[in-house]
Symmetry: C2
């Protein structure tokens, strides 16, 4: 089974409005409510691909109850740890006229020391039986900045391949604990390394401790620095749509390939095709399975000179 960790889960609300005007009053014409947080998005995609998937992290309060009720309707197994504080909401306000999105993210509940301890116990138990683990998203208030580094070490001790997808200081600390895989986007990479040059920054990130760095170049695909070499994977055509969740789908593709023992080019193809099929989907954060099957054989893989 594949384990995904979402420490700062969320009830994701999408509000459609005719046009967002600051300081005006708006009638919301459509409300979509779904379980969110990067790790839960990754888990949903993995389950849709047919992988046995378990989600852990935190949930609490009335919003946490709603999230767990919604998660129960998916094939993802719920191993979330209860918090006294209420799970946060995020609100994506979609401008119907332009398709542009304005995002409002609640900070999340403060996690207590006892709750963190309870989580570590659950996490350690779940590692026994996991073929891979993904640590995804921001840290809620109350959790120490080295939390991901701690979880990376627990996974390594248990011999479970570990992917880290976060940003800022938690990424900086986490990468030093030597995860198998990190998947930064251009901004996260620049923040980590100080460089906006993708190739240089990807190498530099790998030098900080990750066995493999897969950098997301947005619509231009992925750049992967692996122990077996350097690859660039590009979607067949520029896809237009909603990029929400595209990065999470890429993480799911990488994990799916990893647990299937696929070679790197295949893993990257899955990640790029899933990511593009998510952008193309009419529902934000979901992927279009038909588009995925069509895109998969059309992803361009190019091995680059690794001496760069």
């Amino acid at each position: 089974m594949i384990l995904t960790v979402t420490l700062n889960t969320a009830v994701d609300l999408t509000y459609r409005v005719p046009a967002l005007t600051p300081h005006a009053s708006h009638r919301v014409t459509q409300v979509i409510e779904r379980p969110g947080g990067k790790g839960l998005n990754v888990a949903r995609v993995l389950a849709a691909l047919g992988h046995e998937t378990v989600a852990t992290g935190f949930a609490g309060g009335a919003t946490g109850a709603v999230l767990r009720e919604q998660l129960a309707t998916t094939p993802v197994r719920d191993e979330l740890v209860e918090t006294a504080g209420a799970t946060r909401r995020t609100v994506a306000v979609v401008d119907a006229a332009t398709g542009d999105t304005t995002q409002l993210n609640e900070p999340g509940p403060t996690v207590t020391a006892a709750e963190w301890t309870a989580f570590r116990v659950r996490f350690t138990a779940l590692l026994d039986g996991a073929t891979a683990v993904a640590l995804c998203g921001s840290l809620p208030p109350g959790i120490h900045v080295g939390a991901y580094a701690e979880l990376v070490r627990l996974a390594r001790t248990a011999g479970v391949p570990v992917l880290l997808d976060t940003s800022g200081e938690p990424l900086r600390r986490g990468i030093a604990a030597r995860p198998d895989l990190v998947k930064p986007n251009a901004d996260e990479l620049a923040q980590l390394t100080g460089s906006r040059d993708p190739l240089r920054a990807t190498h530099e990130a790998r030098g900080r401790g990750a066995r493999t760095v897969v950098s997301s170049l947005g619509p231009d695909g992925l750049l992967a620095a692996t122990p077996e070499g350097l690859w660039r994977a590009t979607p067949p055509t520029a896809v237009k749509g909603n990029p929400t969740g595209a990065g999470d789908s890429a993480v799911a593709g990488l994990l799916s390939g990893l647990v299937d023992g696929a070679p790197w080019p295949d893993r990257l193809s899955r990640a790029v095709a899933l990511s593009a099929a998510t952008v193309l989907s009419p529902v934000a954060g979901e992927f279009d399975p038909t588009a995925y099957e069509e895109l998969l054989p059309k992803v361009t893989l190019k091995q680059l000179d690794d001496s760069a």
Copy 2:
């Protein structure tokens, strides 16, 4: 007891952000969650003034459960009728830099015919024992546009004085059923009568069937066309702050004066002082009791020539 009706209750969320930028991502720095909808706001103010207060209307789903839990912590008695659909949320995004508010209102659940029938039974039972009733706010989807007219007639049949505070077609229909009191603001009055002249529009609204029309002139106070004459009530100084809920506090002041048998000038003073004390309160929608006591004797009352 005073009965307030909120057919479209809401969980009101206030999000503080450093500055709202369309199409950007925002970290919400403060989240406030409270039971909302105009009738519930009126009920809270009435209870704070020491009146025995009962709230009815609809609530349902996880958001409805949260709303009822929060209502249970106030002295207001909960007589809400359960709906299968979930109670809506409203989100007020407050720009910390300017204090400006951007409002996002979910439409609310569709109320079924059976739920509307259950509500009417509950409403009729509650009228027995009510000294006044307030019908407040928008109609949720599924409820016919003449619903307030129907409730006004039920209240009149029961001999309970009825105040109507709504807008658009529900106000137009409701006013024709001859409520004791309507409290439109300038926009609602203009929509109803086609006139932006407060005096003319207030008279015109009264001609449509309301026994008394109290028009809100925002920071300039109230204009009241009553069977005993025409009054203008003005706060002592221009008050600065958040006007959220000021109109609901004015409704509470009018009802409070009505059930106490106070003469019209006293009722209007209460309404203006409560409204100003709500604008002055640091918490949106709450009133500052000290400011209320200070403002009450300082409201200016002026009887106008009723031949206008």
